[in-house]
């Protein structure tokens, strides 16, 4: 193969890998979305938002939240307003910046999220139950290397 043919072959290989990764990820995501809707009447952006707050007990500023939720996206302000109304989330003053505030889980929000997170974990386990242990171990390693290689380029 000359250099151009090889470049094209490598490009195709990378694209096929990306599309396969995306397909797998979308299959699981679709399943999770449908279960979240069916069992908790909620959406993935809401679930992800609660999940980020659970990981940041001191709360997050709106811009931090938006950045963390860049991909599942949705209207972050709208979702926060809605969750405040439902009592799952609260706005508190930011000690470090008088003009800003932070968003935090309420106690009720923490409880509601814990229940959803447990169910979420079970759904994913069910869905991936047919993946043998050696496959999932190999995938964990290979994906860690892919992640590293990608971070170095992006």
């Amino acid at each position: 193969m000359d250099r151009e043919t090889r470049a094209t072959a490598d490009d195709h290989r990378a694209l096929r890998l990306w599309l396969r990764l995306l397909t797998c990820s979308q299959l699981i995501e679709r399943h999770v979305r449908s279960r979240l809707r069916g069992r908790f009447g909620t959406t993935l952006p809401r679930f992800d938002l609660l999940s980020q707050l659970e990981r940041h007990p001191a709360g997050l500023k709106m811009n931090e939240l938006s950045r963390l939720l860049m991909v599942t996206g949705g209207n972050v302000t709208g979702i926060v307003d809605q969750l405040v109304k439902e009592g799952l989330v609260e706005r508190v003053d930011d000690a470090a910046d008088r003009r800003a505030w932070r968003v935090k889980l309420t106690r009720a929000g923490g409880k509601a999220f814990a229940e959803m997170a447990r169910a979420h974990e079970e759904w994913v386990a069910e869905l991936l139950a047919g993946v043998p242990r050696r496959d999932s171990d190999a995938l964990m390693q290979l994906l860690a290397r892919l992640k590293q290689a990608t971070l170095e380029k992006s």
Copy 2:
């Protein structure tokens, strides 16, 4: 380990695999979104919509399009209206159903998409350039099996 401990360990393993898959997929997606915006002033939902039309030269009904775009989502009708205005997409009568119409790429849309698709392939190749051939071959196989196992459960 008793059965419950093992179940929990397996659940965690599945969840960690899913989160790692999602992280990798989001890293690439984020990069592609940013390049599409920077170079073509366009969005991933628009790109995906054009890409679906390119794969279906006979055109697609709106409900078919919506189903195919389930994940990247966005407002399919709004995007189609916009692309029609820009001359990249057209609505044609459906031969089989007089009340329906199909959405198709125009010639200009086909050309514009081809350029974007080529760039997209190059971006992904650059981004994954550090993934060795043996890793990408192994990932292709493992992800094919994961996809199959997932489809059997969902």
